[in-house]
């Protein structure tokens, strides 16, 4: 069994608490992403799973087995780091064969496994090249292959794609996902890039300041973030959040956004929850859901980024800034005024004091 259970996990380095407390269950064969900004505790968590760090308190279980005191080499985990470790004096083939050879596998068996993994990672034509002649992209692929060939039950990857170039990163995302599907190992993937987490993971554990914020499928954390941190961190750009006060109107409960005016009425269930919660709120909506409307928030266009398939329009400034993602034919330019609103069903409301989502129903 290679399920991973983290129970009340805490890690302190002297006075500094890297991980305040972490409870997480990763199912056997699951692809779990640990996602957060630098310093959120994601790498510390992974290092403890790997056995490179011992927890200050709490437990790590692989299946039913407690890993306390279990040395790294006996945990049966494979890992790949941002800075690949490759023997540069060896060929790709020798690098891939290194692990099985050390374990005393038979030559025929080694050849078969090297061939299979090289095929999967598109390394077959490069097998007899010396590693010191290869690009960073290929070296990272070799590093992944060298770890994967051991067929570990648990595979840990710490930002393996942050040094490879952007085009290659997209290719590697697909390959890693394929690799995991084929071997069905439990995969824990550390990243600060929400795109990598969204596209590869079965579930995402979003972390900040040593605290687990939310665990869910990519669409769960995107559609229903539990707090403003997750709302901002997931999505590119993140969710728009505008400060306001709930106010009754003849059309229902609206949010008074001050100088920006009032929002369209909130859907009934959300309105009831907001009434019950009282206090100031943050009115949230995704940039991709913004539409140009007749009645809505009237805001000046401050910047337009046309990036390939989409155009990000920046509206307003400072506290009341909003980003909207449109098709390229939107035809808005700096200095114009846009009237925008999100569809009512896509609005999310957060308590301004606690930052927690106000849940409808």
């Amino acid at each position: 069994m290679s399920a991973i259970h983290l129970q009340n996990l805490v890690k302190k380095f002297g006075d500094f608490t890297a991980l305040k407390t972490m409870d997480l269950e990763i199912a056997d064969g699951e692809f779990m992403a640990l996602l957060g900004p630098s310093g959120c505790g994601k790498s510390t968590t992974m290092n403890m799973i790997a056995g490179m760090e011992e927890p200050t308190s709490g437990k790590i279980l692989f299946g039913e087995r407690d890993m306390a005191g279990m040395p790294m080499g006996r945990r049966g985990v494979g890992f790949v780091f941002q800075n690949y470790a490759i023997f540069t004096h060896m060929t790709v083939r020798q690098n891939l064969a290194y692990g099985p050879k050390m374990r005393g596998a038979a030559k025929a068996e080694i050849d078969r496994r090297v061939g299979a993994i090289a095929e999967m990672l598109q390394l077959s034509p490069l097998l007899d090249r010396k590693a010191d002649r290869l690009s960073v992209n290929i070296l990272q692929r070799v590093a992944i292959g060298r770890s994967a060939i051991m067929e570990p039950a648990i595979f840990l990857l710490d930002e393996p794609l942050s040094n490879v170039d952007a085009a290659f990163r997209a290719v590697m995302r697909t390959e890693l996902k394929q690799l995991q599907r084929q071997f069905r190992q439990t995969m824990v993937y550390v990243t600060h890039d929400q795109l990598e987490a969204m596209t590869m993971a079965d579930r995402i554990a979003v972390m900040d300041h040593g605290v687990l914020q939310q665990v869910g499928t990519p669409l769960e954390v995107y559609n229903n973030p539990v707090n403003v941190f997750v709302a901002r961190f997931i999505g590119a750009p993140g969710m728009n959040l505008l400060k306001g006060k709930p106010a009754e109107s003849d059309r229902g409960l609206v949010v008074d956004l001050g100088p920006l005016g009032v929002t369209p009425p909130l859907p009934d269930e959300l309105a009831s929850a907001v009434r019950a919660a009282r206090g100031d709120v943050l009115y949230g909506f995704r940039p991709e859901q913004v539409a140009l409307t007749e009645r809505g928030l009237s805001m000046p266009v401050s910047f337009v980024e046309r990036i390939g398939a989409r155009t990000i329009v920046h509206l307003g400034q400072g506290e009341s800034a909003v980003k909207a993602v449109f098709e390229n034919d939107i035809g808005l330019s700096v200095g114009q005024t846009a009237v925008v609103a999100p569809p009512a069903s896509s609005v999310r409301v957060f308590d301004a004091a606690t930052g927690l989502a106000v849940k409808a129903g």
Binding site: P37, S38, S135, V136, D165, A166, A167, A170, R173, T174, K177, H192, D193, Q194, L195, M198, T199, M200, P218, L219, Y222, N223, F233, I234, G235, A236, P237, G238, R286, P287, E288, Q289, F303, E305, R306, I307, G308, A309, R310, I312, H314, V325, N328
Partner: protein, 356 residues
């Protein structure tokens, strides 16, 4: 005036052609981006502008003056390096002051320029801190301030924000663009991130093996790539480029899964290019089976949710085709779908990879 002109510039390192007959003009006050894969010549071009390298052939002009024989110090162009290169033992203030102190500028003038640049970059409140106590974004701004305080005619940046977190990069690139607009200075910018390049650049040059393949505004290059190479460089997911064959009413690709009914398709086209966002993907229905014009069914291989968009990878014959769909459509792996694309959105490429 600080326009920067390269006329047929070539630079070799031994047998390697690092820059191959490059000609371009970066206009005064322009945000100009060089974009290409590793070793395509981007950094060598920067070094040539700075004067750290001398061209083997050709001429470089800055502000109308030939500078081939002008030393780096006399060129008045400032550089922000990838690793920022801040002095760790100095405060942010001393780091920014350094280029002026070194040039023995009068103290009153130094303080005036420091105040000016600190205000533009919003770093007044962190000037007392050493680099180690600054966030990645703050260090970045301090490094830019240090380059700007000299009041250079042009400044150069070599992948300056690549070390930042993804989220911070998205914010910083908008900030960089704002700063450049406000300063009104020529900026030559090198990046390996295509989205960043398209976001910030007024114009950009796409490089391949030391050669400039296309120059233009990002939207222009994206919409009308001059070659299959350039087409692949911009866009994520990248353009689907598929071998195509003639059919009765146009072209087809991916073993009939994609049919383009375009009687005016260029005769020499051997490949078609389809942007993922231009593809329409619909569930396959029985009644379409008999309608030959819609192409054959194809199988969904992978669905990647991005939240606001969904990337669907489809196996069509030997090819894998990526479509970028808006929203969160209910499409699952192994579903059979029909793929189509409006003929007006199709790119055609000929034998030599050039756009037709």
């Amino acid at each position: 005036m600080a326009d920067i002109i390269f006329r047929n510039v070539t630079k070799r390192y031994g047998a390697t052609l690092a820059v191959d007959d490059a000609s371009f003009t970066v206009n005064d006050n322009e945000f100009f981006c060089f974009f290409g894969p590793p070793l395509s010549g981007k950094s060598t071009i920067l070094r040539l502008v700075l004067g750290l390298e001398v061209p083997d052939q050709g001429e470089i002009l800055i502000g109308g003056k030939p500078v081939n024989a002008v030393s780096p110090a006399e060129r008045n162009v400032a550089m922000v390096f990838q690793n920022l290169a801040l002095f760790p033992h100095m405060s942010a203030r001393d780091n920014v002051r350094f280029p002026l102190v070194e040039r023995k500028v009068a103290e009153a003038e130094i303080e005036k320029r420091l105040a000016d640049v600190a205000a533009k970059l919003h770093i007044g409140h962190i000037l007392h801190k050493p680099p180690a106590q600054l966030s990645g974004g703050e260090r970045q701004r301090v490094a830019i301030a240090r380059a700007l305080v000299r009041d250079p005619a042009a400044y150069l940046m070599d992948d300056p924000i690549s070390a930042l977190d993804a989220r911070l990069r998205e914010e910083t690139r908008v900030e960089l663009k704002r700063i450049q607009r406000e300063l009104g200075k020529t900026l030559i910018y090198v990046t390996h991130d295509q989205e960043e390049a398209m976001s910030v650049a007024d114009r950009m040059a796409i490089l391949e093996n030391g050669r400039i393949r296309q120059i233009g505004a990002p939207a222009e290059i994206y919409d009308r790539p001059a070659s299959a190479y350039v087409a692949r460089m911009l866009g994520s997911p990248m353009m689907n480029i598929l071998p195509s064959v003639r059919s009765a009413d146009g072209l087809e690709a991916a073993e009939g899964a994609i049919r383009i009914a375009d009687a005016k398709a260029p005769a020499g086209a051997i490949e078609i290019g389809l942007r993922p966002e231009d593809l329409k993907v619909r569930p396959w229905t029985d009644n379409e089976m008999t309608d030959g014009s819609k192409g054959r069914p194809a199988r969904v291989f992978e669905v990647e949710p991005l939240g606001g968009y969904t990337v669907v990878t489809i196996e069509a014959g030997q090819a894998r085709v990526r479509a970028l769909l808006r929203g969160q459509p209910d499409i699952r792996p192994d579903a059979m779908v029909a793929i189509s694309c409006e003929p007006g959105r199709v790119h055609y490429f000929g034998q030599d990879g050039g756009a037709l």
